[in-house]
Assembly symmetry: C2
Homo-oligomer: 273 residues x 2
Amino acid sequence: MHFIQKLQEIQRRNESLLCVGLDVDPALTPSHIKSSSNPVLLFNRRVIDATSDLVCAYKLNLAFYEALGDQGWHILRQTLSHIPRSIITIGDGKRGDIGNTAERYAKALYNDLGFDAATVNPYMGRDSVQPFTRSESHCAFVLILTSNEGSSDFQRITLGGRPFYEKVLQAAVSWNAKKNIGLVVGATHPEELQPIRKLAPDMPILIPGIGKQGGDLESAVRYGCNKKGELAIINASRSVIYASGGKDFASAARKEATRLRNQILAYQEQYFA
Amino acid sequence: MHFIQKLQEIQRRNESLLCVGLDVDPALTPSHIKSSSNPVLLFNRRVIDATSDLVCAYKLNLAFYEALGDQGWHILRQTLSHIPRSIITIGDGKRGDIGNTAERYAKALYNDLGFDAATVNPYMGRDSVQPFTRSESHCAFVLILTSNEGSSDFQRITLGGRPFYEKVLQAAVSWNAKKNIGLVVGATHPEELQPIRKLAPDMPILIPGIGKQGGDLESAVRYGCNKKGELAIINASRSVIYASGGKDFASAARKEATRLRNQILAYQEQYFA
């Protein structure tokens, strides 16, 4: 199945543009499960069970798993295997390297671990992104404008009066022959999301930065969606999975995911009804 | 010890600017060791034993280890533990992410695995690089101009008549308060190495692209070194470790490493005597 079709189906079935980021931090694992044989994996499974009818995607930030040491890759794999197949999985590693190396990263993420999509860094150009787009069932989300402060260091440098990231966006659009390239645009840049969506009317846009990072949810929905009010993937990580640090962590995650999903639905109603 | 000091000491002791890239490919493992319990690790150990007096550094491309699945991180760690402490180790993952994520990557590479240095992607700006430069014993090698074809897509875009990568270079120089930032400049761009070295007279420059990628070794030495003929780190991967696919793979790797190291020494003699 084409990635876009899978994304649309789950966004419609779960009536949700919400993506939950499983950015696990062993230091924040609730104390009552710390004595289990694999607390991080147990935590993820409980969060997935509590939220999988409320999301369109899960995003797994690879850094958080690499930081777990030798067990990290195994926990990543076991977590992925617990996610229902109908839900999009995004390997958030922002990889980018020369062709033969990018092939390895793509193989590891898509073939070995089974992710549907990956985030990629565009700095090394077309041949560093291509290996992530070989199959139309996989999507490469290209970093355009990120949610951090440092995004102004290079992404916003002006080039003939236009920001550099627009050049990257135009390139990503031009590489999109199989319609399986997406964009990453931080929710902390609401005023820039609208012109980006105009230049890429049909591409999925992954929007991190909601929640702890303080991004603007209303703008993310209003300007991040396509004309049908779809194809934005709005990510919240810590604000959902660590909504409570106690025994009720799973139900607290569900509550916060429900709140975000319903808030998104309300904005969809408002702007796309 | 400061990273630069460690680098200078080993470059002088081994009289070598050569870095060997341990880009392991199970498909290329010599057949006579395939039946051992951990062929990839055995291969790496034999290559390290055969070359460690000829190099200043080993570069481990993380993609090749991630592609090994659950065992990858363990093999990475075991390989690192076999490298003599005096030799620089570079975790080549080209990571780059928002602050709290970059912290995880840095922790995984420096604290958990014990790398001396890491390659980082600058697209997300200063706060994505900073976590890799907290300790002066660690060095962050910032991608400036890479050896692949796609490097012209963005890195060479002109900005007020100057290439974009020069902007990145100026930023890297400005971030270098602790003198522990390095640069990555592909050997496939000899004509651009000289002006880059001029703008960064004292920074280590990691130069991949020698060997299979066809980069120019003479220019790498001539223009990549500082005024003392040092601080260039010239990487060759496949041409050394897969010099032979047979039983003599380790001695063939030694022979090719010796050839490269001596060729580099000859150019150092020629241009810096």
